[in-house]
């Protein structure tokens, strides 16, 4: 059937600069550029271009430009180009539209409507270059009361403490499975996490055996509804176990790693046959209630000899705070909440763009709910979904989070340009593909260095902002909404966020 959808991008080649080196042809796995030997020139097919900018960056002559196509349908505020084209694609195929990455729709980004405080004259600011700044964070249940004994000046803790994760900076790498992302990308995340004193999350695709001894010390392993690659050794080699109930990009639905991405090594790690679809059902079929969840939490604590904190990850949806309260009571040590803009390797577009609530509102209502119920100490909160910079991190913590997960931000650090074709197995940046020709493009040492640099830069910026507020420990900012003010927000939004308007 002839497709009535026109190309998204326009490729402009400067023929004078182009040296016919055919680099662009090799760089593009989508087959956008081809060499015409008769004319001795390169021809680009706009229809195939996904706008990932790989050819642009790697053209040695700087001869290529990729921009959104200037073609347009008659402008119509209701029928946007995207709406028209999605409809045409569905009319042509009858399929559910898949996409990757996070929600790209113009929902209000609250981070950009919240401003931070700083000290002036009184309570002087602290210079982080001179004074120690404490960013170290402990994730897990804290006791209601701490019983200590002092003998000859020696303080001993008598209360039995729950296992906690210690992070040097409140930023962890979000769950991205081996299978969804390439081995090199997965390994780069693990390497950077270990180097920077934080943790990476394996996602639900298992942890390759050869990585367990080296990277288990900075791994959070996931148990999701597909239960891929899970054995007692996998659970025990890591420092924490996360039960994945939901994901911000696709709350309420399962996952589906297409057979194309189930390579031999992915099959071995997930312990499923080569080339089958790896289907994660929508719910865990052994969890239909909070009581069932409590059972899996306890089973995982048993399986790991009560040595690891257990995290439960849910998507932020309308009534999630009440559910989260149940999750804490079910014995979770950490709750990870993933907001509306959380990323994904594959999700139906209609779900990604329409389900869930913004993470900023979710953090605040969860923190408030747990405080009101007197159980905030029983678990830590990791916020995820739409964290783009260090100020987002610090605002999340002031709203009540203990730490954040970054997913898209980490991928962008490695080269991702959010072209949203993660499901295609053709990621030109070598991040989201199992094609060895493509994944080989991602150098683990360089990628992990870029990730460590990012964490280091953000940590310095967080220390600067903290010092500016006259605070020398992140702990003092946690849930401290007095340091936040809203700009351009409605009353109800200020109420949910629990912050005052600017100037108040």
């Amino acid at each position: 059937m002839k497709s009535f959808v026109f190309p998204e991008f326009q490729i402009i080649r400067d023929e004078e600069k182009c040296g016919q080196c055919r680099g662009c042809e090799r760089q593009c796995a989508f087959g956008t550029h081809t060499y015409d030997p008769v004319a001795d020139r390169l021809i680009s097919d706009n229809y195939k271009c996904v706008g990932c900018q790989r050819c642009v960056i790697f053209c040695p002559k700087d001869a290529i430009e990729v921009r959104p196509t200037p073609s347009f349908y008659r402008p119509n505020a209701s029928w946007s180009r995207e709406k028209l084209e999605d409809l045409k694609k569905q009319a042509e195929t009858g399929g559910v539209i898949l996409t990757g990455s996070g929600n790209d729709k113009p929902f209000r980004i609250y981070w950009d409507h919240i401003v931070l405080n700083a000290s002036q004259v009184t309570n002087p600011s602290i210079d982080p270059l001179r004074e120690p700044m404490e960013l170290r964070t402990f994730l897990g249940a804290k006791p209601d009361l701490m019983d200590v004994s002092v003998k000859d000046g020696d303080v001993q803790i008598k209360t039995q403490l729950s296992p906690n994760l210690m992070v040097q900076t409140p930023i962890l790498f979000s769950a991205m499975s081996y299978g969804a992302i390439s081995y090199n990308a997965f390994r780069a995340l693990a390497t950077a996490a270990c180097k920077s004193g934080t943790y990476f999350n394996t996602g639900e695709g298992g942890l390759p055996h050869e990585m367990r001894a080296e990277f288990g010390r900075c791994a959070i392993v996931q148990v999701a509804s597909g239960r891929f690659g899970i054995d007692a050794e996998y659970l025990n080699c890591a420092q924490a176990v996360e039960i994945k109930v939901g994901q911000g990009a696709k709350p309420g639905i399962g996952g589906h790693l297409p057979g194309e991405k189930v390579s031999a090594a992915v099959a071995k790690t997930r312990m499923i046959p080569l080339g089958t679809d790896a289907i994660s059902p929508a719910p865990h079929h052994d969890i239909y209630s909070i009581e069932d969840l409590a059972m899996l939490i306890s089973a995982l604590k048993e399986a790991t000899n009560y040595e690891k904190p257990i995290s439960v990850k849910i998507a932020a949806v309308h009534n999630f705070a009440a559910i989260a309260s149940g999750i804490v009571r079910a014995g979770a040590d950490i709750i990870a909440i993933d907001g509306l803009r959380g990323g994904t390797g594959t999700a139906p577009k209609v779900i990604r763009d329409n389900v869930g609530i913004p993470i900023e509102l979710a953090i605040s209502s969860l923190d408030r709910r747990l405080r009101n119920e007197g159980i905030r100490n029983k678990c830590s909160i990791i916020a995820a979904g739409g964290i783009r910079c260090s100020s987002d991190v610090i605002k999340a913590i002031a709203l009540g989070a203990d730490a954040v997960y970054i997913g898209s931000a980490a991928l962008i650090a490695m080269g991702c340009t959010l072209c949203q074709k993660c499901f295609s197995n053709k990621c030109n940046w070598g991040i989201c593909t199992q094609d060895p020709r493509l994944s080989g493009r991602l150098n683990v040492d360089i990628a992990s260095q870029r990730l460590s640099n990012l964490l280091s830069a953000w940590s310095h910026e967080i220390a600067e902002m903290l010092g500016g507020m006259g605070i020398n420990a992140l702990e003092s900012l946690r849930g401290n909404r007095d340091h936040l003010r809203g700009v351009g927000l409605y009353e109800w939004e200020l109420d949910v966020l629990g912050i005052k308007g600017a100037g108040e």
Binding site: E92, L98, I230, P273, I279, H285, D286, A303
Partner: protein, 270 residues
């Protein structure tokens, strides 16, 4: 308290290990964690076999027995163990003299579970290795999302029948429902979303009891040898059934297999 019972009379340094080879735990009044603490201590002290008496609802028995050295233990349970018996089980053998509750063999990795009675719901959920034999019936959601990889192939044999959702999302392994009392299969939605593995049913099911992703055929010769092997193992474990291998193998079996290993590949567009 656990006590190591002298099971053999031989003496001498060489035989010390054997002398204390069987331990006993009286589970009366023990909380789940207390019972599992004792079980783990016994495993770490080198005990190879434990009898647990008066078990009444304690959960996760066998779950905390992973050791990096891969120590193995045989456990006999007298009474009724609670939910998630043998969850994540790592190569141990558990025999239940009585009924089991929900979640037997949840995400089990290897080993063997024998239930001399019935099992509850979510039996063998996401099981990925080892064998489970249940003498009588079992509940809903049996063998959901069971999966296999190369020679790691889980096997579940049930002497009776199951309820709805048998083998949903099944991705590998072998499930055999023997229906020895010749009941009418009542289960609906059998094998919905199935994309791997095989289910053998003794006795007939109607097409409307099956999920759309399953095809039913008569068994062939390779199936017969698989059935032979596991039916004989089943009968070895439950001699009280008093049926012969021939008697069972003569009856009509049906094979349920997925139509595709990629059932949803045509659902999407880009």
């Amino acid at each position: 308290m656990a006590r190591a019972a002298a099971s053999q009379t031989s003496v001498g340094a060489d035989h010390i290990e054997e002398r204390i080879a069987v331990a006993e735990i009286d589970a009366t009044g023990l909380q789940t964690k207390e019972l599992n603490d004792q079980l783990r201590d016994l495993l770490l002290s080198g005990i190879k076999k434990v009898n647990i008496r008066n078990v009444c609802g304690q959960r996760y028995i066998g779950t905390r027995l992973y050791t990096p050295e891969h120590l193995r233990m045989e456990i006999e349970i007298f009474g009724t163990p609670g939910n998630d018996l043998a969850a994540f089980l790592y190569g141990h053998k558990i025999t239940v003299h009585g009924n089991a509750q929900d979640g037997v063999g949840n995400t089990m990795d290897g080993g063997e579970v024998i239930v001399k009675g019935r099992a509850g719901d979510v039996l063998a959920f996401s099981m990925r290795g080892g064998e489970i034999y249940v003498r009588d019936n079992c509940g809903y959601r049996t063998a959901l999302h069971m999966k296999e990889y190369e020679d790691k192939k889980p096997v579940l044999v049930v002497g009776g029948c199951t309820q709805d959702f048998l083998g949903e999302y099944m991705a590998g392994g072998i499930v055999i429902i023997l229906n020895l009392l010749d009941q009418t299969h009542k289960a609906n939605f059998i094998g919905t979303g199935m994309h791997g593995g095989v289910i053998y049913l003794r006795g007939q099911v109607e097409p409307d009891q099956l999920g759309g992703q399953v095809e039913v055929t008569a068994i062939e010769e390779p199936d017969r040898s698989i059935l032979d092997r596991y039916v004989s193992r089943f009968l070895e474990r439950f001699p009280e059934i008093g049926m012969s291998q021939r008697e069972i193998m003569q009856s009509q079996f049906y094979r349920l297999k997925p139509k595709s290993k990629r059932p949803y590949s045509n659902l999407y567009t880009y």
